[in-house]
Subunit: 198 residues, 2 copies
Amino acid sequence: VLLYNSAVSGNCYKVRLLLVHLGIPYDRENLDVVDRSNRPDVIGGLNPALRVPTIVLDDGRPLAESNAIISYFAEGTDYLPTDRYERAQVLQWLFFEQYQHEPHVAVARFMVLFKQDEIEPAVIAGKQEDARGAIAIMEQHLQSHTFFVGERYSIADIALYAYTHVAPEADVSLEPYPAVRAWIDRVAAQPGHVLITD
Amino acid sequence: VLLYNSAVSGNCYKVRLLLVHLGIPYDRENLDVVDRSNRPDVIGGLNPALRVPTIVLDDGRPLAESNAIISYFAEGTDYLPTDRYERAQVLQWLFFEQYQHEPHVAVARFMVLFKQDEIEPAVIAGKQEDARGAIAIMEQHLQSHTFFVGERYSIADIALYAYTHVAPEADVSLEPYPAVRAWIDRVAAQPGHVLITD
């Protein structure tokens, strides 16, 4: 497997974390997340959206969108339930993550890390407020659940962990969310866990 | 099946269209998409994100996120492939739709239909430009494919059709995208097709 990767991207970290859990070897090719000018040349033929992660399977076929990639690899493993309703619940949280969590938590973090001088403080503050709203929804769910679906660690947890645990890098404190903090500890304690910086 | 619905929402239309294709009867309860003040009372216990569509299955269990709902119902039918790689490609397009298409095409349409007096023209123009970018990615793919995955109509087409075919309501013309327009005609010609206004 070849992974077009970014070291700073939580979306890429989801794929790296699952591949380590599954013992699937892969190579990385790192792309810049700020200067994206070479993307059409490098991944244009593989992913029309030009985003990372994009992977190339051993047979040469490409696949894109972080949550589609982890769904593909998790199929038939302990990281994706077999029950039809639980599978749909996993997808519900994966779509929540891409629609209502990543666009706030990840984008606020990106602005704070890379664009602090260019973007209006009020815009960053708005993103941070939306990020807190997304994490509050997680907090509500985790007050009565150990993991997001079926009381077992799954790709729903991997997807939501990726940017939530680095929310402080977006200047979004996790102090008000004790259930989220306890869940972060449970995810980090899973066998084969690797860090976003690994 | 009970569907918490909005007549104007393309996300809800995806669910209605698939349920008709599958011959699954359902009841609708319509929620307002502008005044959302009653949502915590009505669907708070069913969907922590408070969005429509939210469904309640016949056994009382809830499910949310349009693309998770259509994935659930499509399982085991002609609307979702069985091949593992094709299933991942369907998910790739479903995540593309929720991350890079709906937030632009649907939000631009919502602004034009309901918020034209409140929102700065430059903000609406920015959303319309991003919407064109998303539709251009579809155009590129459809120049060499009849449907999004496996040359067969699937929930990837249903998800992308929902807001694309009403892009002109967002003042985003489909004139520059002939492959998209031909695909829209192919989707609308499917047996059992219903309109977003039905």
